[in-house]
Symmetry: C2
Subunit: 174 residues, 2 copies
């Protein structure tokens, strides 16, 4: 930590909450990610930011595929905990939820999802502990109406914590 920075400022930045999935040679996984955003409109490209130590990172790096499920405000802590605080190296997360295989074969989690998309990696940026994967959106489907889960809602109403592997982890106020 740099002690002269006011880390409180970082917490005023807004995020949603997503499950990002991938698959490589039959191994599948997904994890909670708050750092998802659209990068360009034409063609539609999205970025996801993933910790290098995570199993989902390995899968995306090897297959160049990722899926995004946009979580609804209705998603409960049990669901978020499964994807957010357990490693896919230890547990087969996808066996515990509903998902569909997308056009690319990437699994897309449909539980508590307002919509899903899948993307093929177009470029990556090594940012140190995390990688920015930028992908061309190859499919996007609306699944349900509802309010998207925001990171602020997750912290304020669900009393959710920030995982150590998150880009927004703050040791002094997790």
């Amino acid at each position: 930590m740099k002690d002269d920075l006011d880390y409180k400022v970082f917490q005023e930045v807004s995020y949603g909450l997503y499950v990002v999935t991938s698959v490589f040679e039959g191994r599948m996984n997904g994890q909670i990610v708050n750092t998802v955003l659209q990068v360009t409109s034409d063609p539609p490209r999205f970025a996801v930011i993933i910790n290098r130590n995570n199993f989902t990172h390995d899968l995306i790096q090897k297959s160049s595929l990722f899926g995004i499920s946009i979580l609804s405000q209705e998603a409960p802590m049990t669901f978020i905990g499964l994807f957010g605080f357990r490693s896919g190296r230890d547990v087969d997360k996808l066996s515990k939820v509903n998902w569909v295989a997308g056009k690319t074969g990437c699994p897309l989690v449909t539980d508590y999802a307002l919509g899903v998309m899948e993307a093929r990696v177009f470029a990556t940026l090594d940012a140190g502990t995390h990688t920015i994967f930028v992908g061309d959106v190859v499919d996007a489907k609306h699944l349900a109406d509802g309010r998207p889960m925001t990171y602020e809602y997750y912290h304020r109403h669900l009393k959710g914590k920030t995982a150590k592997n998150a880009p927004t982890y703050n040791p002094s106020a997790s």
Copy 2:
């Protein structure tokens, strides 16, 4: 546009609202950006995504500096309109608001800002129409308590539009 994609899904992704600033050889500018996020925690790095055609893009590319002001929900449409729908090539935007020079010399807009930070570009990724600038945060200051302006609040309550140069512009539903 790819007609088989359901663009409604993209609108369920959550963002905040920010003024991103820069300076090069005395020329200063700032623009509204919704695509800002933290990339790593240690060291603290943030990404901003900027359209290549924008004046602020030129300045960041030349100086490797950018500032971020996290807007409060109190920011009015007149303020957002100045930074969001006018080009710094035509108007001296910073002459019309309050700002301070940061440690790096980058201007930081303080009006309607909950906090400000400034960063030095560490890496860039050319994503086509837009560039992802990733910067090391060199300073961060909390300015005021309040609720951050979200992109959803801007659309729903201020009836704000999405500018054509935004990563999230959707020709069929701007």
